[in-house]
Symmetry: C4
Amino acid sequence: KPLKEGFCSINKVAHPVGSKGVEDFRRRLKYFFMNPCEKYRARGRKPWKLMIQIVKIAIITIQLVTFGLSNEMMVTFKDENLMAFRHLFLKGYKDHGLGTYVLYTKADIHFVADFLGIQNLTVGNLAYERVNGQFTPLSLCQEFYRNSSIDPGNETFDIDPHIDKDCISVYPGESTENNNLASPFNLSLDFKRLLSVNVYLTLKTINLQTVRHNELPDCYDFHTMSVTQTFTLIDYLLLWFDSVVILACFTSLLLCTRSVIKGVQLQFEFTSFFHSHYNKDVTWADRMEFVNGWYILIIVSDTLSITGSGLKIGIQTKFMTDYDVCSILLGTATMLVWVGVIRYLGFFKKYNILILTLRAAFPNVIRFCCCAVMIYLGYCFCGWIVLGPYHDKFRTLDRVTECLFSLINGDDMYATFLHMRDKSYMVWLFSRIYLYSFISLFIYMVLSLFIALITDTYETIKHHQQDKLPVSQLQAFIAECRDQPESGRYQSDEESEESCCFG
Amino acid sequence: KPLKEGFCSINKVAHPVGSKGVEDFRRRLKYFFMNPCEKYRARGRKPWKLMIQIVKIAIITIQLVTFGLSNEMMVTFKDENLMAFRHLFLKGYKDHGLGTYVLYTKADIHFVADFLGIQNLTVGNLAYERVNGQFTPLSLCQEFYRNSSIDPGNETFDIDPHIDKDCISVYPGESTENNNLASPFNLSLDFKRLLSVNVYLTLKTINLQTVRHNELPDCYDFHTMSVTQTFTLIDYLLLWFDSVVILACFTSLLLCTRSVIKGVQLQFEFTSFFHSHYNKDVTWADRMEFVNGWYILIIVSDTLSITGSGLKIGIQTKFMTDYDVCSILLGTATMLVWVGVIRYLGFFKKYNILILTLRAAFPNVIRFCCCAVMIYLGYCFCGWIVLGPYHDKFRTLDRVTECLFSLINGDDMYATFLHMRDKSYMVWLFSRIYLYSFISLFIYMVLSLFIALITDTYETIKHHQQDKLPVSQLQAFIAECRDQPESGRYQSDEESEESCCFG
Amino acid sequence: KPLKEGFCSINKVAHPVGSKGVEDFRRRLKYFFMNPCEKYRARGRKPWKLMIQIVKIAIITIQLVTFGLSNEMMVTFKDENLMAFRHLFLKGYKDHGLGTYVLYTKADIHFVADFLGIQNLTVGNLAYERVNGQFTPLSLCQEFYRNSSIDPGNETFDIDPHIDKDCISVYPGESTENNNLASPFNLSLDFKRLLSVNVYLTLKTINLQTVRHNELPDCYDFHTMSVTQTFTLIDYLLLWFDSVVILACFTSLLLCTRSVIKGVQLQFEFTSFFHSHYNKDVTWADRMEFVNGWYILIIVSDTLSITGSGLKIGIQTKFMTDYDVCSILLGTATMLVWVGVIRYLGFFKKYNILILTLRAAFPNVIRFCCCAVMIYLGYCFCGWIVLGPYHDKFRTLDRVTECLFSLINGDDMYATFLHMRDKSYMVWLFSRIYLYSFISLFIYMVLSLFIALITDTYETIKHHQQDKLPVSQLQAFIAECRDQPESGRYQSDEESEESCCFG
Amino acid sequence: KPLKEGFCSINKVAHPVGSKGVEDFRRRLKYFFMNPCEKYRARGRKPWKLMIQIVKIAIITIQLVTFGLSNEMMVTFKDENLMAFRHLFLKGYKDHGLGTYVLYTKADIHFVADFLGIQNLTVGNLAYERVNGQFTPLSLCQEFYRNSSIDPGNETFDIDPHIDKDCISVYPGESTENNNLASPFNLSLDFKRLLSVNVYLTLKTINLQTVRHNELPDCYDFHTMSVTQTFTLIDYLLLWFDSVVILACFTSLLLCTRSVIKGVQLQFEFTSFFHSHYNKDVTWADRMEFVNGWYILIIVSDTLSITGSGLKIGIQTKFMTDYDVCSILLGTATMLVWVGVIRYLGFFKKYNILILTLRAAFPNVIRFCCCAVMIYLGYCFCGWIVLGPYHDKFRTLDRVTECLFSLINGDDMYATFLHMRDKSYMVWLFSRIYLYSFISLFIYMVLSLFIALITDTYETIKHHQQDKLPVSQLQAFIAECRDQPESGRYQSDEESEESCCFG
């Protein structure tokens, strides 16, 4: 009777490889593939990792929301000021959707006067940047070819392609004194060889709205946003919170790395065991089962989150200003963390149909996309070269890609058609054939085929779930062990090392 | 022979639990689950409840349409006036889709003059509000920090975050006399510490268009719309109609509550009967069958309708002004009433495929949505934090949610792509990966999977309908009774109490 | 052997109802249900009806295209002039998509001056309408309440709701003489009781562009477009062509009516035959088979076409001006004619899958739509009453219907979301719940269910086509006759009457 | 044993047609239908054709990208200048999406003055075109009827439809001297009989931006872009590259034509072989198998590419200016080349599901489309004639087609609905019925049916792939040969001729 208890499988007598070592190994494997709840019931191990993940989701989301809200306020302030400046400085500026065309004739270049009077004009806290007690000037820089004599009438030109840059500085202090607005400074633009005129000016303003929300006001000078700043309590709280995030992510990173390493070790053990006992090689697919994809996801997410939070501390203590990198890191980390929640939903039966179907359909979808992308690319190149000169949406190659992608997904088709009027008849005809064939092919054929593909996979998955056959060697090996998590069989080994620390 | 008649089931002799009490109970159950027409045929009971529901649909819809039409006229009038005022008072106001940017320079704040001349300017019946014989003034209020010395040049500031509000009143009567438009009053705006400037003015107008439609003209003063008013015949008719609606809903509410209570009683009877006769417990699903979901829907709808109509009477008699709550209550009630019509359509065979499929698919859809929402939320957070500063549609978190939701359902994709140009290259690249992956994942995978899910459920439902197996204990129990409604078996009991009142 | 030849069915000896009369009748039935080609092969009857239909399609399409092209030119001319007039007369007119808001202050009403100078201002052939040698005046009409004393300040008014209309006429000849533009006439607008001001002016112009295309120029006076006109060759050609259309349609109408009548006669014969021989009643479905739906379609189309062409002649000879009715009649007729082409495509096998599926799915779709429409109507009412005051798309009930319908089919969702900002929080929240639930329900559930429905029907149809079982008594009766059209059996009877005329 | 080796099929003894000639022929056929890799393994033949195709894809894409990028720069330059000119010369020009309405009154025609001052006004290298030392003039041409007396008031006119064209030239040199801007020249426009006024002016400019990118600057005169030009190194490189493209395409063309010819020869051999050995005819489907469709695609693509590259050389050496034809040729060629990549993907199993499904679904889709197009055309005609005068999207027939096509694919529906307000009630009602029925029919029925069709085909294809039965005589004949490519059996014959050259 103790002998029978020792046996892991009591039903399948047809496969009598039941020495004690094999049973133990099989039990260890089964334990390894259990989910946290089952592990708790099997050995009483607290699901520390699960808890840490849940806590992590909460604090990472809080961190992100705080960050986002503070950025939101800042961006709104900057935008409104930028809009006001544009209306002030750019003649006839219109806030159209698609680009702005402001036309200057030679006589119009007297906007410098506006600059000199800005402190009196707009409603807001603006001041000129002052460096070493000096006002920073308005710089008006022109780029031109070094030496050129162009005569469009004779179709001859002689250009030295080296580009010179010449800047003229106007100091606010100066011209307001003599008030000579009509001709404020000597500006000679040689329009013949001119390439571009840029105006740089530096203004400072303080966003007083944030004071109300008990934050320290940020100071913008509309180029960078770094100003030394005294620290307040709120800033210290934010720093502390970021440190907590880093700590939590680091712990999660350690635990998951440990689990992955243990998985790899177990995989090697399993490979050698299978080789020695059954003299069979383990397939790659079986080997990959030991590496839990979710852990990899968490590790990537943690790494991103730690780096991002580090950068964020740097930004808040004004050592760095690389906002974009920081936001991409934090954003991607948060996205991965939320995607990771699906894993925990998958512990409940029936909840994982989305993930299972997506995973099963993935190879087919990729293969299918490869072919579709070829046709798609063909259309992109063709549309770019033929319609590019006549239609704004086909001007550059990446725009064509986006435009066609949008068309497939139901974008404004009529507008695209409409803008291709008034062309030469041949181009008009080509554009019609091009658009009708593209849309019909992709919306009616390719998208329908996509639905067919997914529907097919879904049904396959559903039948698999109902039948539940072990599909690989590994699963067949483990399936022989019928011990329930609650049976107490799993507790005998490794209790000393495991129960103290978290796993 | 009388013994055979007494038997409810004459075919299934294999289940001979046919004492008189059991038969009667079975017949009562079957009668309970009949639809109104069958009930009429079985016991001759008039379908009062059904009739009341039909009447209710009619009068509730009439009430809503009357309410809506009168609001429509009012809103149009208000809008047109508001538009005219904006063009009058806001310099350079444009009616663009996405926000208005009106830029004021210090010199522009002379619009008060416009106000003083408004009675002469616009075409309409406008007058200044007069309280106690005095004209109400135009109030110009500024909010500023109590004490501030800001020097953006030195990057220093010293602000007392307490906010002061200072208002200046201008009386129409005054300045028209001396006609001093250039400097109408002493307005000193300390722009350094200014937070906002608001202008309040109160005007009155009378919408004469409504006189033509035999309604009493409403008087608006563009802040609230409550003015004492003498009652006319039409108003009394409206009040009377609202009372009829309340009465009908109350009757319907009482009848449905009674039916629900009877259902619950029958359920308890059934539970104890099943326990005593078969010694089996009744499942929760079977118990819930006794509570008719449609009655719950009607009860909720009636409650909303009664409350809404009460509020509406309050608004019409000018005791209350909470239009929003009233409209939400009435609107939701009407929607539920119309949804309830499906129940009566379901009495005809084949008409209930929509409801059946939706109900059957519901658990799977919810489970599926849980997973999809996780990925969706991940994308939302990520898009908000990274793209928020660069794109208007990603500015706030709820906008991101709406924007992504719209993208899935075929919104203008190209415009979304387009507005992300002119950014730093890294953000540009991120936005492309972000959008392409999101759209592909959700439109091609998730939506296709949705179709697969619904198609699958539809087929399951169709097969169920063709087979018609009793699926629960309750249905199996009832199915043994083969008496047709017309057989006259159902009339023997309870005729005294039932036939007089409506059920 | 002659006995065997006389038998129509030689294989099925199990059903020996083979007297000569029965055979003949069966053969007549089979001939009746043949398509034109088979009829030609069976009896050599020329497919006159088919030819007439094909000719009809051609000439009706030509008629429509001629009509459409001439209208196109006219409409473009009118639009351009209207646009020019608007820019001339309406101050600050913008050609926005959604309505125009032009605000007039009292001082602006001096546009009459513009009118008087119009002959000198614009570039085009414009002249004032002259009646009996007199110029027609510019009429400036105001509508106002007969008697009103309104005091918005006191919230009192006393209005006589009878509406007066007062018009003032200005004659072009007059004021150009004295050139008194500042105060051209005595215009006293009592703004207190004013309802509307309308300006009517009558101008004439001649569209010279059409002369180039050899058409007689139309003369517009921008109110009606009827001017007496001398007839040219082209006009006579057009009238002749319209007559040809009417003739063709009339012939087709006669032939189809005759076929329908013959079908009905045959149906009565069949019913009495079946009753006397088999003593069985013929089902309604079988009876309806004798009435060819396509003939009904052609008859309706012909009737519309004849009426429409008649009206068109009336318009061209300037007796009538009801362009809308004429275009609707002709347009619908042409649409039906083109839809009718599917019938001829259906003569080839495999081409009729669209029509078959649509017809088979029709009852289910209608039933399904009934339920969906209830939910849809509920949402419409609810959206109208709650969101109407806050959102332009929900202002009137028919707009709500269109807006929600458009949303289901992938319209701009984000814009709809966006415009609901800046409302009270409760309305904002309601709008979100409303839109998300509506879109999810209809796009994900209802549309998916639609696809499931159609897919299911398609598969059913496909299986039916592969099995090809006779499904009705009528089909079973006819199927017993195996004679091929080419066998020559069909030619014996009725050759005298049929072969001469067309059938 | 050597006898058995000689046999191609050793398993199927039931079909002993194993003479040496038959075996050899079967082996040749099998070799013919192998893909390049198998051919390499079978006979060691290098896949030259494959390599040339891969090289071709690369260089054609590079050619296209170079061409496209250079055009992009040119078009941007032209657009910006055109925009600037429009703002300069057209009064009140707005860059709206849908057409521009610029209204001129008689007094406004003084824009010629602007022209004369253009050299001083704008910022850029502009000069008047000079021919033979003379400035080219600004030509102001009017078209009018030769003789006309129009009196709109009397509704009489007398027009000679012959059109005269009268041009007046203004020379820049002239009027700048006397500076007489108010009346620069004698311009008498007889507005009565005027048809159109066109202004032609010729300006020259040099795009200096390109100098920076080491290209020779193009010279535009805004009519054509052909200017004699000295050649630089880069131009020679481009010409050389185009020649390489032509060479590669020509080689590929030759090889593919040779393969096609060999296929046709083999087909004749096979037909006669089959006729002599089995006395059976070969079906057309089997014959077509010998003509590889991919080769046809490559041949077409190569022809287009060679012609296009030739034209491109012509354009670059400024002999031709037909940019449109060149771009259409090159674009289509590139598209076909990329579509051809799918062939190589199809060499891997499972990758060709897209192409297989599309090919299998093609006949059904075409048949289905035929029917759908009939209904579609009916709607087009009907919408054009009825709604044309009232809605911009229905103005011309091709617009209607595009608009309806866009509506099916999820275009802005609400906007289409909206613009049909303010019409006569009958037209309004018609438009609603029209749009609702069209959209419901096409989106819900036709599109769903499309999905059903594709899904059905996909499943058929999948089952075929799993079963893998030889479906034609040809395949059955070849399938009897079981020799693997690596077996060495294929090398014996033709080694002398084949191994030296590429195949």
